[in-house]
């Protein structure tokens, strides 16, 4: 009996009762368990893969994808590669001939306007040039009508401009860093890299504004949420429930309704201004501008994101027993010292969790800045939305989104290094 049930050691390897190594035995026993666990998460895993990870991956890929030039103008790209732009001369007839052949195919397939749009991101005017030339090039027969150099320059003088061909050559690769350079207010040029002209530099400023405003929002959420969370954790269970409902009440209202309500509150003829004027604190002619600026965005978003700060703080504070404070006081600490030295350090994981939540949510927030932010209070996400749905420059939108993602991950990493992610508790 005992010989069979006990483990035996053979050459230092623990053996199970039937003589197989204990480790293998254990792995076999656990395999079924792991399989079952995997099957339980499989539906969600497949759902997330298909509807989230794959689309986002392909969207992010657009930030470097640039096969439209090489696909639409395959021959041109091949021969243009041999052209040396630094000599300051136009490419020779070989390139023009190849370009005409490519264009005739492209016009047939109506691809030339798309290419024009793509190149227009890099150099304004390209779009109309391609559209106009396309129409006229339909009449050219690539087999017989050569030479083409003069003809093309006749069709549009842009083809006689060396910059046009430089742009084509620069952006002929299958992958490009151009979108990312655009996203940080720079430009990919034939010489490599150049800053955008001063008046077009808005994106870096927007990134910086998004970061700073998100931090301000996180900070004000901490300041407003901490006392509420403390109260929640320290009143009787019945009162805590009531308070919790009040905290969660905004969650049950539509985000749009809440944001619009702030519009009603903050506008120049809104509730706050009316009240201030009525009690005479503000003269009628100098009503405060509370909306369509950064202030409006910060106020509205602090209100909307506050529950995300309060809930993790509350769940952490709930676990801090009141006896700690009592112990501190019995040891001679004043109320303030007991709070600051004993209670506060233990509540930091809650602040950390809430801050990460609020910060990451606000850095990518869209609807509220869009409605109450005006022009001065919008976030980078509003710019991304603009490029997705209005300018249709998806490559730039994807690059902006990727940078945003990287910034968030970097901040997350920094947080882990400084505070430690183990210190974050959500409940």
């Amino acid at each position: 009996m005992s010989a069979l049930t006990e483990n035996s050691t053979d050459n230092g390897v623990m053996m199970a009762a039937d003589g197989t190594p204990l480790k293998r035995s254990l792995a076999r026993a656990l395999r079924r368990q792991k399989l079952r666990a995997l099957m339980l998460i499989a539906p969600l895993l497949i759902f997330v893969l298909l509807t989230f990870i794959f689309p986002i991956g392909s969207m992010l890929f657009r930030s470097v994808e640039n096969d439209i030039v090489a696909n639409t103008l395959p021959e041109t790209v091949a021969v243009l590669g041999r052209w040396d732009a630094s000599k300051g001369e136009l490419p020779d007839e070989e390139v023009y001939a190849a370009f005409v052949r490519d264009m005739v195919v492209a016009v047939e397939a109506k691809q030339h306007t798309r290419l024009g749009t793509r190149l227009n991101y890099e150099s304004t005017g390209m779009s109309s040039m391609f559209r106009q030339s396309g129409r006229k090039m339909k009449k050219i027969d690539p087999e017989t009508d050569g030479p083409f150099k003069e003809k093309l320059i006749d069709i549009h003088k842009g083809w006689g401009d060396i910059e046009t061909w430089k742009t084509l050559q620069t952006h002929s690769g299958l992958y490009t860093s151009g979108y990312f350079l655009n996203a940080v207010d720079a430009q990919k040029t034939h010489e490599g890299f150049a800053w955008q002209p001063e008046e077009k530099q808005i994106l870096l400023k927007l990134f910086w504004r998004t970061l700073v405003m998100s931090m301000v929002i996180t900070g004000s959420c901490i300041a407003l949420g901490y006392p509420i969370a403390w109260l929640l954790a320290n009143v009787s269970a019945r009162n805590a429930n009531l308070l919790l409902i009040l905290v969660l009440l905004p969650f049950w209202t539509s985000l749009l309704v809440r944001t619009s309500a702030w519009k009603v509150m903050l506008q120049q003829n809104g509730v706050i201004n009316e009240v201030l004027v009525w009690i005479g604190l503000v003269p009628d002619a100098e009503r405060l501008i509370l909306i369509n600026n950064q202030f409006g965005t910060i106020v509205a978003m602090t209100h909307i994101l506050l529950p995300f700060m309060i809930l993790p703080m509350y769940s952490v504070m709930q676990t801090i027993q009141p006896s700690y404070l009592r112990a501190a006081k019995s040891l001679g600490a004043t109320n303030w010292t007991a709070f600051w030295r004993v209670y506060f350090p233990q509540s930091v994981p809650g602040i950390g969790a809430g801050s990460i939540l609020v910060f990451i949510l606000s850095i990518g927030y869209y609807i509220t800045p869009e409605i109450v932010g005006g022009t001065k209070g919008v976030f980078i996400s509003n710019r991304i939305a603009y490029h997705i749905s209005s300018s249709l420059n998806w490559g730039l939108a994807a690059a902006l989104g990727t940078i945003l993602l990287i910034v968030v991950l970097a901040l997350y990493w920094a947080y882990d290094r400084i505070v430690g992610i183990d210190n974050v508790k959500l409940g």
Binding site: Q321, S323, Y324, R326, A327, A328, K329, S330, L331, G332, A333, T334, N335, T337, A338, R341, V342, P345, Q346
Partner: protein, 374 residues
């Protein structure tokens, strides 16, 4: 402690009261009194235990003394000074909590250093005191650890040394051993009493464990229903309970109900409800006709009638159950209409082991059987 229950350093005690409760009442809701008319005075150096079932008001009393609850009425004095209006952090009372309440974000040394820091004691002196306090509980090697890395017993030792590190004259302990296993509890009971007596500190200890109360204390205050039912040294409490609550609450106890027939020369003759007559010592019965509840300890029941005094009344009993417990035998009997009559006998070589169904005769010395309130 010496076997008689006297503290070793009896000379540190003085007769003047160090801790005093005078007519203290406490109500949380304005309707019910949790503590009703509490009067208690403790000399310096005493180890006093507040013992009682949950809800008896013992913890409330401790919290009032610590300053976390305010008395609704009455006066609490420490060293002759009323402390009703002194906030907890100025009372200078050391406290040990049931869940240890060690600050989890500080190391052991930082925990001990905390009360010294808030007292603005210099760094070198602080370190010296911390190490001395850790030495008292043999925990010097753990100074750098976090509380979560310690076992329950080790945590409690740290909590104890933290309550002592700033040298308070009074230490309060709120069921400090409640969460520990039996063996550890016994070791720590011994350590705590030793330490308290060595340092000469006054200790108020709250527990619902009567063994703990009996083994550790100089005096025990038995709480029930917001009042002290009896305040006495452990031996007196066990052997001479003053009312049936104390008799029931402390140790195992057999209860028989009946009416006083007569009282003669300090011996009461009681007629039990089943008709049998027994002898008892009248404690709080004064005249014939009163209903009474008599109490007799299981180990004071005698099975050998020849060892009883002449003319003592005996009762017939039937053995229902015999339990072998190692050091003792616990036998359950049917006596005078009750099936829950217990006797305990020492596991001696010549001790008889009764079998269920056996008919025996039992009796006791009249002074061991106490006629208490009904």
């Amino acid at each position: 402690m010496s076997p008689t229950g006297e503290p070793l350093l009896a000379d540190t005690k003085s007769d003047t009261a160090f801790v005093e409760f005078e007519r203290v009442q406490k109500s949380y809701d304005g309707v019910n009194l949790v503590v009703k008319d509490l009067n208690l005075s403790m000399p310096q150096g005493e180890f006093l235990t507040m013992l009682g079932p949950s809800g008896s008001g013992k913890t409330t009393c401790l919290m009032m003394l610590a300053g976390f609850e305010t008395a609704t009425h009455g006066d609490i004095r420490l060293g002759g000074v009323s402390i009703n209006n002194i906030p907890p952090h100025k009372r200078g009372i050391g406290m040990v909590f049931q869940n240890y309440a060690l600050f989890p974000h500080m190391t052991v040394a930082e925990n001990l250093s905390f009360p010294l820091e808030v007292r603005k004691i210099g760094k070198s002196e602080r370190e010296e005191k911390v190490m001395r306090a850790l030495g008292m509980v043999q925990m010097q090697d753990f100074a750098g650890r976090r509380p979560s890395q310690l076992s329950g017993g080790q945590q409690q030792r740290i909590a104890l040394s933290r309550a002592l590190v700033f040298e308070p004259e009074l230490v309060l302990m709120d069921e400090p051993l409640g969460a520990l296993d039996k063996q550890l509890r016994e070791t720590l009971q011994f350590e705590i009493t030793n330490l308290a007596h060595q340092l000469g500190i006054t200790t108020v200890y709250v527990t619902h464990d009567q063994t703990e109360a009996l083994t550790m204390s100089d005096r025990v205050a038995v709480f029930d229903d917001g009042r002290i039912q009896q305040l006495a040294p452990p031996d007196k409490l066990y052997e001479e309970p003053e009312n049936s609550f104390v008799a029931q609450f402390i140790g195992e106890n057999n209860t028989l109900e009946g009416v006083v027939k007569e009282i003669n020369n300090g011996v009461a003759l009681i007629q039990l409800d089943g008709g049998d007559l027994i002898d008892a010592k009248p404690v709080n019965v004064t005249k014939p006709g009163e209903r009474t509840r008599v109490s007799i300890r299981p180990e004071r029941v005698e099975m050998d009638p020849s060892r009883l005094q002449e003319g003592a009344h005996t009762l017939k009993a039937e053995v229902l159950e015999f339990v072998y417990m190692g050091d003792i035998f616990r036998t359950r009997l049917r006596v005078a209409g009750t099936d829950e009559f217990i006797i305990k006998t020492r596991n001696a070589p010549d001790q008889v082991r009764l079998k269920p169904g056996e008919q025996i005769e039992i009796g006791w010395m009249a002074e061991d059987c106490r006629a208490l309130d009904a």
